[in-house]
Symmetry: C2
Subunit: 449 residues, 2 copies
């Protein structure tokens, strides 16, 4: 047999087998959340946030929003656009948020629960570049965009996409969202995300979603199926395009995740308590606004408070500070009965040891914070500047490991294995005992890599 | 300036600055332990272990040990060497163990607390090979042994050595322990470990330790300064040389850590509950024996229940199964009021992404289990077949990150940063504000790498 033939032979058999992966399943976290702040400390953060909103306020850079806020009892200054909230106003409207909702996918088997102890993993999003070992690093483009969506569809442990996995900058900016929504509606049947860059883009995405799901806008209103991330322009500011996109989302019954962009040392105080107070203030103000504009809207509390490297000013991820803020962010979200979003992020420039340990330094606290929506769960590299095809595969391994970790151990009599221990006796081995033979194929998590 | 000169210039300045590292500090874990088994499930494991010891027994391959066990009420079969324990006997002697003790170093500043919420990180141990990028992979030898000890002494976050970081197989086996103890007494002033390979080797190490500390054997007896790992020869067997070494240790007031070698699927049942029951049974029997032979001996409960890869039979580390067993092992140790040992281990063959994420998959649960003695904390590679110089440095980063994570966040009024947030206002940045300038040098963990 020729060498060429042999090689093809091996290649084919690998292709046929494919990558063995876990079956589709949305994990539930039945373990207790891991909490590092006391109830008193959480209340202190809460009080500090309310004080920020009552005494300093936050800028809403959109007159329609200012009208809504004023109408519902906030103190509005139209010339500075600053809005102040009384603590009672915040408490009143935050109480209207649902603690759990369903995100509907084109394939109902891929519907997702958001909230309580449900977890979901979403694909990397919003990177300007992408890379793989064969073709190197390149600016985002439509072909890679499509391939990354295909990967997200392929792996069961990636439960949805969370935006454009890479920005397809070769498409015209004014129609890009149409091509992207079309891709989402044709190359994946999982839940997807639309960017809140003004009202029209969201309206277009919703219209296309209605076609894809075979629903009218009226019907869609009762089926949250689209999600959009609302980033504040920290500190203390919410942009007009974000607001207009958000309004179009929630008025059509769709879900938004409010994530303040409070990097400690840059857009937020250099102290964790200060940065988390700012994160919390901005999230509470924006979420309060959603419930004024559309009471009961399905919303998520987003945490993204990492720190910057104080030597370079560059964002750092997978740091001890991010670990703490992720865990405390979860405590704050639970304080309000809100679903919680955090991320699997790192600042490494390639898929190396650092990428491995920084990702885990993000992912462990994310899981343990009872995060409901794990964003950037697969493929994030370079602090978000690059979507890496190899990192997608590495992250599939990490996410499957976490999913297996969340399968709590069984303590049934059979699993206690007294009889097997008696059978094998001192100095023997368990490889060949019936107890092992009955279980060896599924007893342990089988690594992909 | 010549290129050569320039290069030397840069090299020198790096040498002068050195690696910035954390100051010496033994971390305390003030967070709650993370527990994944219920109290009932822990009791079920406990009961299953007691049943194993009462009905099946465990082999002690040493007649002196059998005499001690018989004398103290265990049921001994001298022909099979099998020893059975009543539940009451186990409970009675386990109750004699101290829940905390001090390990004394040659430099008293490096004394270590073992137990309660104290944590300590110990160097990789017992690998047959070592490697670095410059010189490749090679069998263990005395020069590398010495250099690894120097590294352990250099880094403050490595609190002690935990055995030979690499086996110096170029030294004659019968005197190797003397050279190794001499190295420990001269190249490091931190606590060290001696192997329980029979009575004589331990006796020699204790004699040398007495010289090093300037103490008599009688004085040493009240100053635990040496530690030895006692591995059972799972399943259900304890070797004679281990027993004789252990007896010499505890009769001289020195500490032992009993770690059953219960790899699930190989030397222990393929189920987690079965493997943990066996681990617990073997640990309880051996620890009970220590308290019969020398009541009040400073002892540690060791957990090392990972799984094997069922395709190859090779030990796997950094798996979801190890994460669960590490956490439950901590719960069992706390059930008995015993200090707990776990490990920072991985099965990767080089310092790559896998080494990074598998280490973290071991280290996070280790920290969260309230592990008191983190063995193989720096330098472990290839499932323990290799000590890697580069992995030592990577692990120093991970351990320092964990140490920084264990520094709980402050919620003082100053850290809440209300005034700084007011100063900066909407849309500003925090890089130049006084609140940042006062803190930026120490606010965040500074990475080594």
């Amino acid at each position: 047999m020729s060498r060429e033939h042999k090689r093809r032979g091996r290649g084919q058999s690998r292709t046929i087998a494919g990558i063995q992966q876990q079956a589709w399943k949305q994990p539930r976290n039945l373990y207790s959340p891991f909490e590092i702040a006391s109830a008193d400390q959480i209340e202190a953060l809460h009080e500090n946030s309310l004080r920020i909103l009552a005494e300093l306020g936050i800028a809403f850079l959109d007159n329609e929003a200012l009208d809504i806020l004023k109408e519902h009892g906030a103190k509005v200054n139209y010339s500075t656009k600053m809005v102040k909230f009384s603590p009672e106003l915040i408490e009143e409207y935050i109480a209207k948020t649902p603690s759990q909702f369903t995100l509907h996918a084109r394939n109902p088997k891929h519907n997702l629960e958001v909230g309580k102890n449900w977890t979901l993993f979403s694909m990397v999003a919003s990177t300007p570049n992408c890379s793989d070992l064969d073709n190197g690093r390149r600016p985002g483009n439509f072909k890679d965009y499509q391939n990354l969506i295909r990967l997200a569809q392929h792996f069961n442990v990636i439960h949805m996409t969370g935006g454009y996995p890479v920005e397809p900058i070769d498409l015209p900016a004014n129609t890009r969202h149409l091509d992207c929504a079309f891709t989402h509606l044709t190359l994946t049947d999982k839940v997807f995300h639309a960017y809140s860059l003004g009202k029209q883009r969201i309206a277009d995405s919703i219209d296309m979603l209605c076609i894809g799901l075979g629903l009218t806008r009226k019907e869609l209103k009762h089926k949250p199926s689209l999600i959009s991330i609302i980033n504040t322009s920290s500190p203390l500011r919410l942009d007009g395009v974000m607001i207009q996109g958000m309004l179009e989302m929630i008025r059509n019954g769709q879900s938004v995740c409010v994530t303040p962009f409070t990097l400690s040392g840059a857009m937020a105080p250099v102290t964790l308590a200060g940065a988390l107070s700012l994160q919390n203030a901005e999230a509470l103000a924006t979420l309060t606004f959603t419930q004024m504009a559309a009471p009961g809207s399905p919303v998520i509390y987003g945490g993204f408070t990492s720190n910057v490297d104080m030597k370079s000013g560059a964002p750092a991820f997978g740091t001890p500070e991010l670990a703490k803020s992720t865990l405390i962010g979860g405590q704050l979200a639970r304080r309000y009965g809100l679903p919680y979003r955090a991320s699997n992020v790192n600042a490494s420039n390639t898929v190396d040891t650092q990428a491995g340990y920084e990702s885990m330094m993000s992912l462990w606290p994310t899981i343990q914070s009872h995060c409901n929506f794990v964003k950037h769960a697969a493929g994030w590299l370079e602090g978000g500047l690059c979507a890496s095809f190899e990192k997608v595969i590495v992250d599939v391994e990490l996410l499957q490991m976490m999913s297996a970790f969340l399968d709590g151990p069984s303590f049934s009599a059979d699993e206690m294995a007294f009889d097997a221990i008696a059978d094998v006796g001192p100095g023997g081995h368990f490889f060949g005992t019936q107890h092992t033979l009955d279980r060896y194929e599924t007893a342990f998590y089988p690594p992909v890599l």
